[in-house]
């Protein structure tokens, strides 16, 4: 299970050469978004998503670099980044498990699914496995309530999740994934 990392933990003095932090591919993707909006900071969320897609999460160093590129303050961008639950300001595992715990999935047993995941991976909500393979998060109703309970692993939706589905996705309970 990962340690909680304070929001401002690293690279506090990187400021001056911040934009050099972003790759050419990242900057090109951000600039493509800027092309159809009236001002640069309007693409703040797109830019955070682009960087996160490349790196898995948005570090302080990246946050400052994005803010510099969008001509906005790092503080303002931090306010945006921390508002959205799918912008990660801490490292996450290689795959993020988004477990729906809204009403229809709750009726049909999402608590057991959560127990099944925790039993296999040794993590609760907001935690990452020691081997950095998985992070488990709760998520808003995933819009597949006729197939409840559901969850996403990375970009893939999994429906009618039960112990068999969990076993095929994550291995046996108390298996090799257990630290």
């Amino acid at each position: 299970m990962s340690e909680l990392i304070p929001v401002y933990s690293e690279g506090q003095n990187a400021g001056g050469r911040a934009t050099a932090v972003l790759s050419e591919a990242e900057i090109a993707a951000i600039d493509a978004e800027i092309a159809h909006v009236p001002y640069r900071s309007a693409v703040a969320i797109d830019a955070l998503r682009i960087v996160q897609a490349h790196r898995g999460w948005v570090s302080d160093e990246c946050l400052r670099a994005i803010a510099g590129h969008l001509q906005m303050s790092a503080e303002e961008l931090e306010g945006v980044a921390t508002f959205y639950n799918l912008i990660f300001r801490r490292p996450v595992g290689a795959k993020v498990i988004l477990l729906c715990n809204s009403i229809s999935c709750w009726i049909r047993g999402c608590d057991s699914v959560q127990a099944g995941i925790s039993g296999r991976l040794g993590i609760g909500f907001g935690e990452t496995t020691a081997d950095n393979r998985y992070t488990l998060l709760p998520v808003t109703c995933l819009g597949a309530c006729d197939k409840a309970p559901v969850m996403m692993v990375g970009d893939e939706l999994h429906e009618l999740v039960d112990d068999t589905v969990l076993a095929s996705l994550l291995g046996a309970e108390g298996g090799p994934d257990e630290p």
Partner: protein, 443 residues
């Protein structure tokens, strides 16, 4: 459901294949797709289109049910024919941020027939003379976002999008914006804040987005299902659309049922189909061993209805008169083996988590309500907690005490649970435990 080969009885799902694979441009065109757009671009002024939509009595399918034609009519148009707007951009936004608990209808439309949405959007944008359109889609709808981007690219190639659409002189650019989470983004002014790259705090109204929306410009925000209706209405006419509904509300509706029913699912049916028919015929009735105690008619922020309401028509007016809202039209069933207190606690915890934090009744009131419900559920409740809940319902639930409709919506299941399931709250408090958790015989 009998097959509807003409597509005239169930227009929205006519291209939905049994395997749920998407309908591509060629298949969409082969089934009459973009015919309505050709009709508009050849023969109809924006004013003509607006009149047809107004006459059709199409109402917003995102939950509030506001008349779509009236909403569009508030967008400033420079002259009476509506062919030119004020200088500067106007925007059309499709709200594809489906997150209402228990709602799973827009995903079907987005994944199975992306071109239906795009055609509706082009006609809607033309009607208000918008030059830029956005599809604001929740982050988790990865497949739908990819399909939409591919469909938009195909439309550009075919001259349905971009400059000078079908030689009409009208131009429209369309973009997909993938969001980054948070339920509040579905609120139309919060959605606009989010699309501007900001925190998704809702805005005070007025000014209404129709006049001052995205980047201060006239903006229309419509739900996916609403926009999917548009080209059918243009093609077949307002009278045809009105004739589809069984009651005073027009068209068809995507109805859904989730919970302990035999066949949970989502079906396009005539507007005004009775609740009982949807639950018993389409959803196959309750699972064996489960009895219906109540249902939320249209998502997590609608009031409970109970058995006596099963024969009501699912339309805006009828469900409204019964003390609830049709909302998104996707029902969530409360069965007798599920604790109503825990049910409402789950919903309230959801809304507390999803509060944007801007106004106090929502930011502080919802966690407080959730805490009281948690106390009752876990045997720590006192009788005066019921009065606390009633006070919270009255205060937080009053439109005007909060900045947007999130917290009042959150209070709807709480207040109606107190009304219909009060004895269950009392049993929790008197016995100091949840009867369902304790495994007692229930109701």
């Amino acid at each position: 459901m009998s097959p509807d080969r003409s597509g005239l009885e169930r227009p929205l799902t006519r291209n939905v294949r049994p395997d749920r694979e998407p309908t591509d441009l060629a298949a969409y065109e082969a089934n009459g797709g973009y015919r309505a757009l050709r009709k508009v671009m050849g023969n109809m002024s924006p004013g003509d289109c607006l009149q047809v939509i107004k006459d059709s009595n199409l109402r917003g399918r995102g939950g509030a049910g506001f008349p779509t034609g009236m909403k569009w009519s508030f967008v400033p148009m420079e002259d009476a024919t509506g062919t030119t707007g004020r200088p500067g951009h106007k925007y059309l936004i499709c709200n594809a941020d489906e997150m209402e608990p228990g709602t799973f209808k827009d995903r079907l439309l987005l994944e199975c027939d992306p071109h239906q949405l795009i055609e509706g959007m082009i006609i809607a944008a033309y009607t208000i003379q918008a030059d830029i359109a956005y599809i604001f889609i929740r982050a988790e709808y990865v497949r739908a976002a990819r399909l939409l981007r591919e469909a938009i690219a195909a439309c550009r190639e075919s001259g349905y999008l971009g400059d000078n659409i079908l030689g009409s002189g009208y131009s429209l650019q369309m973009h997909v914006h993938a969001s980054a989470g948070r339920y509040i983004c579905g609120e139309e002014t919060a959605l606009i804040s989010s699309l501007e790259g900001k925190r998704a705090n809702p805005r005070a109204k007025p000014p209404f987005p129709q006049v001052s929306g995205l980047w201060g410009r006239p903006t229309i925000v419509n739900n996916v299902e609403t926009l999917c209706n548009v080209h059918h209405i243009i093609e077949h006419g307002a009278e045809w659309f009105q004739s589809l509904g069984l009651t005073e509300d027009a068209g068809t509706k995507l109805y859904g049922v989730s919970g302990r029913v035999k066949r949970p699912g989502c079906w396009e049916l005539p507007m005004g189909t009775p609740v009982r028919e949807i639950i018993e015929e389409y959803a196959g009735g309750m699972e064996d061993g489960y009895r219906l105690r109540g249902f939320l008619p249209g998502g997590g922020s609608t009031d409970f209805l109970v058995e006596e309401h099963l024969d009501l028509a699912m339309d805006y007016g009828t469900i409204g008169k019964a003390g609830s809202r049709m909302g998104t039209g996707t029902m969530i069933i409360l069965d007798d083996r599920t604790c109503p207190v825990a049910f409402v606690k789950n919903l309230t915890e959801f809304f507390a988590r999803e509060s944007c934090g801007f106004c106090t009744p929502c930011r502080d009131g919802l966690p407080w309500t959730a805490q009281v419900l948690d106390d009752i559920e876990n045997g720590r409740g006192r009788m005066d907690d019921l009065e606390t809940l009633a006070r919270q319902v009255e205060f937080i639930g009053a439109i005007g005490n909060t900045h947007c409709a999130l917290a009042p919506g959150a209070m709807e299941p709480v207040q109606s649970a107190l009304k219909y399931f009060r004895e269950d709250f009392v049993r929790h408090i008197e016995s100091g435990a949840c009867p369902w958790c304790a495994g007692e015989a229930v109701t």
